[in-house]
Amino acid sequence: MKRKHVTSPVFQGRRLLLMLLLLVVIGILMLRAAYLEIFQQEWLQKKADDRQLRVATVPAYRGMILDRNGDAMAISSPVDSLWCNPQDLLKAREEMRHEYELARQVTDATAGKADAEEREMHELAATRFARLEAGFRHIEETLEMGEGELLRRLEKEGNKQFAYLGRHLPLEVAEEILALDLPGVAATREYRRYYPLGETAGHVVGMTNTDGVGIEGIEKARNADLAGKDGKTRVVRDAKGRLVESVVNLEEMQPGQNIQLSIDRRIQYLAYKELKGRVYELNARAGSMVVLDAHTGEILAMVNVPSFNPNNRKDVEPYRYRNRAVTDKSEPGSTLKPLTLAAALEARVIGSDILIDTSPGHISFGKYTVKDKGNYGPISLAKLLAKSSNVGASRVALLMNPRDHWMFLSKLGFGRVPDAGFSGESAGQLTGYESWGKVDHASHGYGYGLSSSLLQLTHAYAPFAAGGKLMPASIYKVTQQPLAQDVMSAETARSVLRMMEAVVQKGGTGEMAMVEGYRVAGKTGTAYKFIDGKYRDDRYLTSFIGVAPVSRPRLVVAVQIDEPKIEDSGGRAAAPVFSKVMAEALRLLDIPPDNLPDTRQADTQPPKQTTEGAT
């Protein structure tokens, strides 16, 4: 069959033209598509990625700071920081308010009979507005702002592109606003640091700033370990900014490490409470206290008054930040005398049963005179400490070769940074013995002419409680015992401890440091301040350092109170604090009493030293 070719004379040209035109258009489109796909592909892909792909930061969890028993001293808790584009948000809010008012009018005017659908819509708008307002109020409450303050602030920043609605909000509060799905509002996950112990441990633990960087204490000293490393991941976002897909992990997030301190928070709390009470009672300028485990060198508690609460960064004046026990150095005064006796015993210039003649109660070096409170005559070394005789201590010091004396003090850590793990530790001051005159040498005997921090001084007492061995001081829990340094013989340690026991007895200067059930040895101290070229007798530091229990010594507790306003000589200001804290610390650490009524008699006989493990 052959089809007859019929040609329409009229439409032929028109049809051809139309088809040609269509072909051209399609051709152009295809060329364009090919051009975009082949030549512009890279650029376009980049544009698309710019819109969808974001590099999101995965914040690393900041490690906890734990006490020696694993109880938390600093915890990070997730919070949301809400931010917005003030322009968009204010516009959205205005619209919502408009709808809200409209809805009110509608319900008022048409009570009941209006279109159900329309009413529903208006009601929805009304509740949304109410919820936004409630959310704002909530933020204001959480951040302790006045009513309406947040809105005023937003209006002030109305021309900017970015403003924080609130930083570090609890998750529920942020969720309230986010649930409204407002334009230009988003949240960033952050961590807020909480310190359960508050001001009790402010100086030791320190604190972080709003960006989570440690700025004080351990938080600062170990910031890198605690912080970990933020991760980075590339994600796809949809138009509303929600994450759709995680494309690739660029950097793995490394959570921060936990750090365990040597602090026992129970002792820490108690020490702070007692010290604070005493400092206020005496109307003193400041106070510090250190509790040290002599056998391991661990610092069980370290407190300072005035302190600060790291949970609340608002009201902190700089002087409150100072960890005085570590950063402030002062002349130790009489608390150095037991060390003088130990140095002399070690240098073998005296025996422990020697009598020192202190008459006539003063001793002159040219224009300087060292005085005692009275003429004690010839006294034993124990009595020298109990009476805190300056003349006696000077005499003993002068018996020694200055070099030996200096060496001894230096070995105990005077003039050296203790390196216990804090930032800003003071090294104190110990001048070379070559430059000592006779006066200087004598004054080193009773605690002037050199200076130390309270931590150094406490640490220097540790050998008395550890059989003459000095363990490096540490604020971190000691898991592997470091090498001890032999600084004096066990015999010297024991005999000086016995002498110091006389101080803490009825009639001694440290009478008020007694602890029921335990034998305590210690030394009081009063150090006058050197201001404007002379020693002021109205401004002084009063201190007490003691060791317990004497039969099996373990703890060293040092208390120092700065400028008590109420006239109070010797260690009477500091000793009661010592007594309370030492008693509780011994009880909390399960250290068996060695001075119970029925064992007192047994003490006169040689003590039955059986096995090491007690109770």
């Binding site: 998750l171 994450l243 995680s246 409470k273 119970l596 109770t615």
Partner: protein, 90 residues
């Protein structure tokens, strides 16, 4: 020979279509899993917020001064005096 080749081609074609569908399904599943992951991460954050809140509460309740005063007042306990202590050494 010709038929075999055609069959092979058809199979390959089907394979390609199948693979393409699997890619789509996979991608979809990945996104769903990611959404779930996000939900779980959020839950994790909420739980850890709760945990730290409880930890804080615990530490306030464990405050030994509080414990001591409650033991004294509510349970009528007292600290043993030195007379009441016996040390047993093994």
């Amino acid at each position: 020979m010709n038929r075999g080749r055609l069959l092979g081609l058809g199979l390959l074609y089907l394979l390609v279509i199948g693979m393409a569908l699997m890619v789509v399904a996979n991608r979809h599943e990945a996104r769903q899993l990611f959404a779930e992951l996000q939900k779980l991460e959020k839950e994790n954050a909420e739980l850890s917020a709760e945990w730290s809140r409880l930890k804080l509460e615990q530490s306030t309740l464990l405050n030994q001064v509080l414990v001591e005063s409650r033991a004294k007042q509510e349970l009528g306990m007292q600290k043993p005096s030195a007379d009441n202590i016996r040390v047993i050494r093994e």
